[in-house]
Amino acid sequence: MPLLWLILIVLAIATAGYVLGRSRVMAGAGGDSRDLHSLPSYYGYNVALKVVLPSFLLLLVWLLAQPMIVNGTVAADIPESAIPDGSSRDLIMSEVRRTAEGLDNAVAQGLMTEDFARSARSDFNDVTQRLKDAGQIVTAQVTQPILEAAQRYRVMNDTGNLILTALVVLVALAGAAWGLREMRPEFRARNVVERVVHGVLVAAASVAILTTLGIVLSLVFNTIEFFRLYPAWDFFFGTTWSPSFTGRGGSSELGVLPLLWGTFYISIVALLVAVPVGLFAAIYLSEYASPRVRSFAKPMLEVLAGIPTIVYGLFALLTVGPLLMAVFGKDGLGWMQAGTAVMTAGLVMGIMLIPFVSSLSDDIINSVPQAMRDGSYGLGATKSETIRQVVLPAALPGIVGAILLAASRAIGETMIVVLGAGAAARLSLNPFEAMTTVTAKIVSQLTGDADFASPEALVAFALGMTLFVITLGLNIFALYIVRKYREQYE
């Protein structure tokens, strides 16, 4: 692994720089650290930072840029005639990458010489067979343009890696030289090091902004791409969801309304379970429960929140679904066709949300000032009257905020609906029918499909955008309400 070695070399230079810098400045001060501006170790850190930071930055930028440049150049060089009908430049490129990888493996296993890998021609040598012998999965016969492109791809990557290694080592050494030149006793090493560390802290904090930016950009670009292939009006107002799986001919109908309806219906069922149970649990825990009951029941409920959603999904599919079938299915009331239904997913999602609602409401109820309760008791109200007529109205905005947060959780929940709600998209009022949601369709449209050019795959990004906007709106609104409410009593 040359990359690992490169990193180790840079780190070794940095360590050497630390030791050298430290000893050099100590020698300059005549061995007395009191004559230095900063503690001796800061001089060492100064050199080490000047080695590590620029070279790693270069490494990172290069590693991101190189594949893009190489891909772009090689892809541009593939002649138009080499791209068969129904294929695309992207598909050919992935074939090229696979071939190049196969050549690498074959050379590594000693099945080919480096010279052969560089100069072989598919019309003279049986390259495909030799690649298959080396364990590489090549989908079709490797044609001459693909092989040529793959060879170019390898050569460019090899040269790139070589230049990268040389440059990084050079930059590291230059950094060390720069740092060592500064090693005078009056040099303000601590200030420099602290400024750099401060910069690193700011960069780390900016990761949050970058993540949001990444989410928005990746959604926006692909959504625009999707709307170029599929009319936005049909997406937002279409009432049929039936993607064609062949991905050709544009016979898919991709209306989002049935998915949104399924999402909201399941979320409503979930909230109908979670809100009463969670709210009453919170009231009991904060107003009635003795410390012993509270210290037992609160963690028990919170365990429900720590269980991964895949567990709930399996619970819905294999326990709750059959249970509901026994009651409402063919042998019972005859309302249900299959175990996967709105009711199944909603019920299980409700269980998942109970601790979410209860712990948020618990905090909010606890933050209602005790004076309001005492005033109510003083007027002769019972505990429940106080709760219903004083505490809950006072806590209502906060509780609404908590419910909105729970709703946004329910809308964004994936595994429970993928396993428990079924796959059919329909607009129906019957809660015992299978429906599907936005999240479930994102999973099914994007799993196992590497072709991002078809509207059937790109629709997932439009769905993701819809989901992101809805949950973001709910979250901002809910956080606003909760914050407003907190300020009221602080």
Partner: protein
């Protein structure tokens, strides 16, 4: 005082507090009802938890056992020669096996009729197993060898109650008549159950081989992913928290970061999957299904959790510590890194472990970047291959099993959940112990 006594002559008759009138009774009943609602709500929550736990344990524990058929077996050189001379060699070995089994049953005084087909349904292709064994170990010919052959998953199901005699439909997989043989073999102690190591150490099998499926490879995938998450999210999260808690000035940029963090904490996990797909795979051309990419996506997902808990524990360190450090001449940076951070470390580690546990159970984003169960066909060759080669993770593996049509995989999925929950439980217990032992109240 005197004003109050005047009112007793009003519309309310003189009552004593010692006797309850109808209204008081009603109010007290309402009080009791209200309290009962609250208690019921708690009990419903706990009831669901218990049901969940029971169904996990009851449905998952069979995944850890498997049924084996133990047959002691002696084969002689002439028998081998005769079998090798036949046209269908494995079939000849199978006949040898059936004869041996018959003998064992006869020795116990039981007489059963069964044929090759039923053996094939119960045990799979026995003949080839035997032939391979004797070809690999020719020195065993002529000496008694006891074979432990894995029974088919349907026999497993019958013995642990998943299938009953009534629910078995005659098919090429299992006939109801075969179950008589199973009963007899069980009575003769030839069919036993043993611990299923394949499930712990194995990799995912094909759709048609539920018996051979194991979770080991995806545990390794999860492990490499968690390594990436730990190495990236702990330093970045701590650095970001230190900046926001100790250095950030009150300005627009800080507000922007704060808003972003609180919103990212509530973004649905599947959106992070889309991000990973678009940025890491589409744009940066990192390999699909690689634990490295999974780790990067989960890092971005866990960062808000870690930042929120780290900030809380930094805030819990009293300002007097900072003041004292500044008072003896430390710089602001020194006071934070030398004094505040070490004191906040237990809280930070606890938060990190809980964040990791959350990431470990996350499924949806992994499905989008291609870490589905069926790519976990084997163990990685080394550390680099562990990060870069296609693998799955525990929750994604469980999902793949749950989505398969064969109900025998459901048992594996439940079993996988037990393994997953054991990991989560261990992590949470470590977090609790850390908190108990090191957390200081100021």
């Amino acid at each position: 005082m005197t004003d109050a006594t005047l009112n007793t002559g009003g519309d309310r008759p003189g009552t004593s507090l010692a006797t309850q009138d109808a209204r008081t009774k009603r109010r007290n009943r309402a009080e009791a009802r209200f309290k009962a609602y609250g208690l019921t709500a708690i009990l419903i929550g706990i009831f669901f938890l218990v049901v969940l736990a029971v169904s996990i344990i009851r449905s998952g524990s069979p995944a850890f056992t498997r049924t084996i058929v133990g047959v002691e077996f002696t084969i002689t050189q002439p028998q081998i020669d005769a079998a090798e001379g036949e046209l269908f060699k494995t079939k000849a070995y199978q006949t040898l096996f059936i004869d041996a089994l018959k003998q064992q049953l006869d020795a116990r005084g039981m007489e059963m009729k069964f044929d090759e087909d039923s053996i094939e349904r119960l045990l799979g292709k026995v003949g080839s197993t035997l032939r391979e064994y004797y070809q690999a170990n020719p020195d065993q010919i002529g000496t008694p060898v006891s074979f432990e052959l894995a029974a088919s998953s349907r026999v497993d199901g019958y013995l642990n109650g998943r299938l009953t005699r009534d629910s078995v439909k005659d098919s090429r997989f299992l006939m109801a008549a075969d179950l008589d043989l199973v009963d007899a073999l069980q009575e003769a102690d030839i069919v036993r159950s043993s611990f299923n190591w394949t499930f712990i150490t194995g990799a995912d099998s094909g759709v048609d081989n539920p018996g051979g499926a194991g979770i080991g490879a995806s545990v390794v995938g999860s492990f490499f992913m968690m390594l990436v998450v730990l190495v990236l999210s702990l330093p970045i999260g701590v650095a970001a928290s230190i900046y926001l808690e100790e250095f950030a000035p009150q300005n627009k940029f800080t507000d922007l970061i704060e808003v972003n963090i609180s919103n990212l904490a509530a973004v649905p996990s599947i959106v992070f999957g889309i991000l990973g797909l678009a940025v890491f795979i589409q744009f940066a051309h990192l390999p699909q299904s690689a634990p490295l990419v999974g780790g990067l996506v989960l890092t971005l997902m866990t960062l808000p959790t870690i930042i929120i808990s780290t900030r809380a524990s930094l805030r819990a360190v009293p300002p007097s510590i900072r003041d004292a450090a500044l008072g003896v001449g430390a710089s602001k940076m020194q006071s934070v890194f030398h004094h505040v951070l070490p004191l906040a470390m237990p809280g930070i580690l606890t938060g990190t472990i809980i964040g990791l546990a959350q990431a470990l159970g996350e499924t949806a984003p992994l499905l989008l970047i291609g870490m589905v169960g069926f790519v976990a066909r084997g163990y990685p060759d080394g550390v680099v291959s562990g990060f870069m080669d296609p693998n799955s993770a525990m929750p994604a593996q469980i999902y793949t099993w749950a989505a398969r049509a064969d109900p025998s995989f459901y048992e594996k999925a439940w079993g996988g959940i037990i393994v997953l929950l054991v990991f989560l439980l261990t992590m949470n217990i470590i977090a609790i112990i850390l908190r108990r032992r090191f957390e200081r109240r100021w």
